[in-house]
């Protein structure tokens, strides 16, 4: 019985964290190229005490442990914007972005040009083509991005956008700003991956899923608080009753 509080506490902490993950998903439901995360919990069996002489013997108790939050890389909804510098990746790949701390990866295809004519993300990080950053001059007109990533203007082909793919999504780490860093070097994306310009990939957060998860978490939390309250009552009445008996 003395285990009620610590076990409930482990579940409380896990549920709070689950709620934080859901809140982040919902807050980013309008973030282009955002990929949702979902919590993953396990049971953690505490080592059994060796008190065999007692009857009944100790039973195994299990705590809740937060194993990780997995990244859901499924495709987000497509939003047709008609802007030629809005690009969606159809398939499992990322744009490669150059930041001051090295190459980073993003699915946010809302690209633009900076003052020097370089193709950049909305944060101003250069988006890399296979030969490095892409720069346009004032004479370049009608920038178009083809399905295979070829970037061309009325003056000719300027390069091909570099796409990176990863064997497992778990090597990716969110660093904010719609960017991911990777623990492993990426491999080149497969040739079947298509780009579509004039379309933006929205976030892949589904409101129904998040809200139902949220209700579930919130209810579990409330009922857990109630069971803690009962455990507390139980202990209190035991103390009073035993004190009377003594």
């Amino acid at each position: 019985m003395e285990n009620i509080a610590p076990i409930s506490l482990s579940r409380h902490i896990a549920l709070q964290r689950a709620m934080d993950v859901i809140a982040n998903n919902v807050a980013n439901s309008a973030t282009n190229g955002f990929k949702r995360r979902s919590g993953m919990f396990n049971e953690h069996v505490a080592p059994r005490a060796r008190a065999d002489s007692l009857r009944p013997a100790d039973r195994a108790i299990s705590f809740v442990i937060d194993r990780g939050s997995t990244l859901d890389l499924s495709q987000g909804a497509a939003d047709r914007t008609g802007n030629p510098l809005d690009v969606t990746i159809k398939g499992d790949a990322f744009f490669v972005v150059r930041t001051s701390s090295g190459e980073r990866y993003t699915r946010n295809g809302a690209l633009s040009l900076d003052a020097r004519g370089e193709l950049v993300t909305s944060d101003g990080h250069a988006v890399l083509a296979e030969q490095g950053p892409l720069a346009f001059t004032a004479a370049d007109r009608d920038i178009a991005i083809a399905a295979d990533g070829t970037v061309s203007t009325a003056q000719g082909v300027r390069g091909r956008l570099k796409l990176a793919a990863f064997t497992r999504p778990s090597v990716l780490e969110n660093i904010g700003g719609n960017l991911f860093s990777a623990r492993e070097a990426p491999r080149p994306a497969s040739a079947e991956i298509r780009l579509e310009s004039g379309v933006l990939e929205k976030s892949n957060v589904s409101p129904v899923v998040e809200i139902s998860r949220m209700i579930e978490v919130s209810r579990a939390y409330t009922s857990l608080a109630q069971s803690m309250q009962r455990g507390d009552d139980l202990r209190r009445s035991a103390i009073t009753k035993l004190a009377e008996a003594a």
């Binding site: 549920l15 964290r17 709620m19 934080d20 859901i22 809140a23 982040n24 919902v26 807050a27 980013n28 439901s29 309008a30 282009n32 955002f34 995360r37 993953m40 937060d66 194993r67 990780g68 939050s69 997995t70 990244l71 914007t81 008609g82 802007n83 809302a110 633009s112 040009l113 900076d114 003052a115 004519g117 909305s122 944060d123 346009f136 001059t137 004032a138 007109r141 009325a154 497992r168 778990s170 090597v171 780490e173 969110n174 660093i175 904010g176 700003g177 719609n178 623990r183 409101p207 998040e210 809200i211 949220m214 209700i215 978490v217 919130s218 939390y221 409330t222 608080a225 109630q226 309250q229």
Partner: protein
């Protein structure tokens, strides 16, 4: 509990989204207006457990870490500089640009403004001015005896003067363009000014070197599309509600905690 703050960032972001959409809708009939949109990014993540950290002394490692994000931020409100529809006005000083370019306007403070709004008029001295009375740059002066003003696609302004058979050339309208036109700063009155982000203006004549052509007697409507804006508004409103629900749920959880320990 972080969920409260996270949901609050979501609500603030959607509030900005609604503000931008309502400005687009309000300017639906503004000549030369270019619609805006908000771009969002996720905020920093807190790493509770790093993926790939060892989970035993047998060389196994954790496949997925614990990353908890802290919400969303608005990063920019770029304008979508697409062409608006041209609508006929039958006024000889109304000009629309088909394609790239901005009219240059001399602002009273000495700066140069750029605009797609081509509803020009003449001032008391016969100079072409915008609706606010700012001078077109380079200035074009129309003599008060001139009749039949014509402005061709290349920007050449000519008029017939009394006693002359050939139309008299009065001036050349020039356009400006930018490497990064989304970097222009709006200063109201349909005017933009150059910034560090836009790059310096490149000036030239219409219908040459990638500049658009002029169309006399037409005005460029705004490029706001009612259907797109309304669906964006609905989406923003619902996203706001969802975030409010998260606040509510987080509040319930907190109150469950505080009530469990009444003692």
């Amino acid at each position: 509990m972080r969920a409260l703050q996270t949901a609050a960032t979501g609500m603030m972001a959607q509030e900005l989204n609604v503000e931008v959409i309502s400005n687009n809708v309000a300017n639906m009939r503004t000549t030369g207006f270019k619609r805006m949109r908000v771009q969002f990014q996720d905020l920093l993540y807190e790493t509770h457990k790093r993926a790939g950290s060892p989970s035993s002394d047998q060389g196994t490692s954790v496949p997925a870490g614990i990353y908890v994000g802290s919400g969303v931020k608005s990063v920019s409100t770029p304008r979508i500089m697409g062409q608006g529809n041209l609508s006929p006005t039958e006024k000889s000083y109304d000009l629309a640009i088909r394609g790239e370019g901005y009219f240059r306007v001399q602002l009273p403070d000495g700066r140069t403004g750029y605009t797609r709004d081509g509803s020009f008029e003449l001032d008391a001295d016969g100079r072409m001015v915008t609706a606010e009375g700012y001078l077109l740059d380079p200035a074009i002066t129309v003599p008060n005896t001139a009749k039949g003003i014509s402005i061709n696609a290349q920007g050449v302004v000519s008029a017939s003067l009394p006693g002359q058979v050939q139309p008299q050339q009065l001036g050349q309208i020039q356009l400006a363009r930018f490497v990064n036109k989304t970097g222009l700063e709006s200063i109201g009155d349909n005017l933009f000014v150059e910034t560090q982000g836009s790059g310096t203006a490149i000036t030239g004549n219409p219908n040459a070197d990638g500049f658009g052509t002029l169309q006399q007697g037409y005005l460029e409507e705004s490029n706001v599309n009612a259907v797109t804006e309304i669906s964006a508004l609905i989406a923003a409103q619902r996203a706001y509600e969802l975030n409010a629900k998260v606040v509510q749920a987080a509040d319930q959880m907190l109150s469950a905690t505080s009530q469990a320990f009444r003692g």
